[in-house]
Amino acid sequence: MDLILETKGLTKVYGNGTVANRRVDFGLRPGEILGLVGENGAGKSTLMKVLYGEEAPSAGRILLEGKEASFSSSQDAIAAGIGMVHQHFMLVPSLSLAENLVLGKEPKRKRSRFFDQDEAVRITEELSAKYNLKVHARARVVDVSVSMRQKLEILKVLYRGARIIILDEPTAVLTPQETEELFAELAELRRQGHTVVFISHKLDEVIALCDRVSVMRDGRLIATHEVAEVDSQTLSNEMVGREVRLKLDKTATSAGAAVLVARDLSYVDDFNITMVNHVSLTLRRGEVLGIVGVDGNGQTELVRILTGLERSLSGSLKVGGRELMGAGPGAIRRAGVAHVAEDRMTVGAALGASIQDNLLADRYSEGRFTGRFGFMKTEAMREEARSIVADFDVRCASASQSVASLSGGNMQKVVVGREFTADAEVLVVSQPTRGVDVGAIEFLHRRIIAMRDAGKAVLLVSSDLAEVMSLSDSLVVMSAGRIVAYFEDAAAVSDKELGLYMLGLKRQGEDEIRKVLHED
């Protein structure tokens, strides 16, 4: 079959000498959905940025419908019918969805420079109906959900006339239901003749959605399969280059003393929604307490309160018996609470700073790194960074490289590496494997269990239900900002049953919920 877009011997070397793509022969058939999988740092995003004109190839050729193409900017790629939805949103929060959609290519009133608001809304609604991507044209971006923003990004690409649509990890921030919706919409795009490249770390998704799948490893494109002919085990072995164990071994332990005691926490967000509604819980040593719930039901805000990033409107927060409500993130950290933030791009890491600076951000002022008169002990700092990088398998050229130049999964390893070596008693871990490849997921999961076995109290929040269920010893379900159920033994509950609680269809009695307080 003829290819609509292909690369021949494409090589990309970044300015700092990183070879991100090595002689890649990539091919895209018209009208297909092609999955692109590979470990963190395998070069998937880089390859796509080259095709989208954002990065210039160092060597090799790009062929569009058999003809040589060269894009000097993404404007050229857009003109050629290629669109890309980035790993991170490119939207203006204060403008409406319709205004965002037409930005840069605005409809104008007849023979004038006046912005035509109604026409913008009409265009948005028309496109939205045509591709069955439902959005509120008049709402402002700040007021709509993540999944609607994602749809808007896809509509933006379509509005600019893209026939080839590249989606870089679109499902990383979506809930399972939203993912399913997105898949139906992408299938609709395929039916209407569009070609889609779909990058994801979730192999099940790739198998469920795509026609073919290409595997990248270490900058090379090593295989392309018809999806009907592979399974996720084969794919993950190919990606990692070794056997990956998709199942987790975990021995039972018994929980110890209470370390973090939270009582009656509440929070109201900027849109006046009560995100956390009188929540109380207790974290105990040697136990992973998982929080499940549909994204946006207060998990994020609860974590922000527990780690001091947000102030509760009521209640108390005690760590090791000390009251820390309103003490701020620094004091809470010093009291022994480490935090793997759900958003590594904004809260978890300082992107422009080096790997070393990020790893030492919470401890540089300690005596072992800062000597008398405030002079830094550079050798000790370098040694600490080097050992965490090795221990957590951060793939980088050196620890002085900026975190921004790392792939998503390796950024996450930097954050986890810092928090897990912080010598904390409590670990608040939020979305630890979002956008992380299978090999790294396996690694991170083992580290979380190891921390538990070392007697730490772990609070785990994840929108990956399978992940929370397999890692947690006991479970709490949050719905509409409340704890609606507590299961002492996570292994004894099915995901079907959890689903009923997550949706707010079922709710345990106060007595059962109170057991999470461990007040006997």
Binding site: S74, M90, L95, K108, F115, S145, P176, G499
Partner: protein, 333 residues
């Protein structure tokens, strides 16, 4: 004292002066609003005004034509704004630092030029410069009290009101306004939509340059009839604070600059009752800064209070996105 103040507020003369004092600060505040919306702080407004005030006087004296003077003044102001744009956008220098540097050049440079040409370091009274016309409004002027306030003002006062409308239309009705706001709110998003953020910022700087130029010319060719050293008197800086009070809108700029205008005019009257002039002259600035602080704090407070009230009264929120949690392809763990 009370009687005196009441008398002042009742007099049409006072409100006439209020409008006159408000016009220049309004123009520069509008300039600050539009640049800030585009995501670049125009700290050089002060310098723009100074050069406009001087060049306006020089050009009108040299040609005997007030309009050539005005055009020259605006051009001088634009040169300052474009210089800021060149350093901040093309050479990626810090915009605020560049702005301050340009202001320092303006403070010293205008005096230097004045001295070189006239031999006087303080005032341009030896030059036969022109003043911009004062305009009697045909019917409005007949109305008792009100006519005395609004009629007979300098043309720039009326232009300032026109400028509010123009800036409002640019920001809210024109395509370029969306681009300005998009650039200010999220540069990356604007860039990825094919907008050139530097061009947008340059354009905003150009508009603010024209507005500051108009304000500067008014100071030396209408408000007074000479250029004096430091004639802008910090209005360019105050504009950046007033811009915050204005909440980033053209209409808000009216209120923000009225705060300044009302106290500035009051200061003129208060001088008559023997308060120390240094204290009085600092009044409008102090009041604007206080306004700035009050607005910022009350915005935060209102936000917090609203949340607390809502939390106390609100029923529990409904669960978001009520859809089944499982998905084919992923079984139980």
């Amino acid at each position: 004292m009370i009687d005196f103040i009441a008398g002042v507020f009742g007099s049409s003369n006072y409100w006439y002066i209020v409008l006159r004092s408000t016009a220049p600060i309004l123009l520069v505040t509008l300039g600050a609003v539009i640049t800030e919306q585009a995501g670049i702080t125009n700290m050089a407004l002060e310098g723009s005004m100074l050069w406009a005030a001087l060049v306006g006087v020089l050009a009108s004296a040299a040609t005997g034509n007030v309009w050539i003077g005005l055009a020259g003044g605006i051009l001088a102001s634009l040169v300052v704004a474009w210089t800021l744009g060149f350093f901040a956008l093309k050479l990626n220098a810090n915009a605020v630092l560049c702005g301050v540097a340009l202001n320092l050049v303006g403070t010293g440079g205008t005096v230097f030029v004045l001295f070189s040409l006239t031999g006087d370091k303080g005032i341009s009274s030896s030059l036969a410069s022109k003043t911009l016309p004062f305009i009697k409004l045909p019917y409005l002027g007949e109305i008792p009290w009100l006519g005395k306030v609004v009629s007979g003002q300098n043309i720039v006062v009326y232009l300032a009101i026109l400028a509010v409308i123009v800036v409002h239309v640019i920001l809210n009705k024109l395509t370029i306004g969306r681009r300005i706001r998009a650039t200010g709110a999220n540069v990356e998003a604007a860039r990825s939509a094919g907008i050139d953020p530097d061009r947008v910022k340059f354009l905003a700087l150009t508009v603010s340059g024209v507005l500051a130029g108009l304000a500067g010319c008014f100071l030396s060719m209408g408000y007074t009839s000479n250029f004096t050293s430091g004639i802008s008197a910090g209005r360019g800086y105050v504009a950046n604070a007033a811009q915050v009070v204005a909440g980033g809108t053209a209409v808000g700029a009216i209120f923000a600059s009225l705060i300044f205008g009302i106290t500035d005019a009051l200061a003129t009257f208060l001088q008559n009752i023997g308060l120390p002039p240094e204290l009085i002259q600092s009044l409008p600035y102090a009041v604007t800064i206080i306004g700035f602080i009050v607005v910022t704090i009350s915005r935060d407070r209102r936000e917090a209070a609203r949340k607390r009230a809502l939390f106390a009264s609100a029923p529990a929120a409904a669960p978001r996105e009520p859809v089944p949690p499982t998905r084919p392809g992923r079984g139980a763990a």
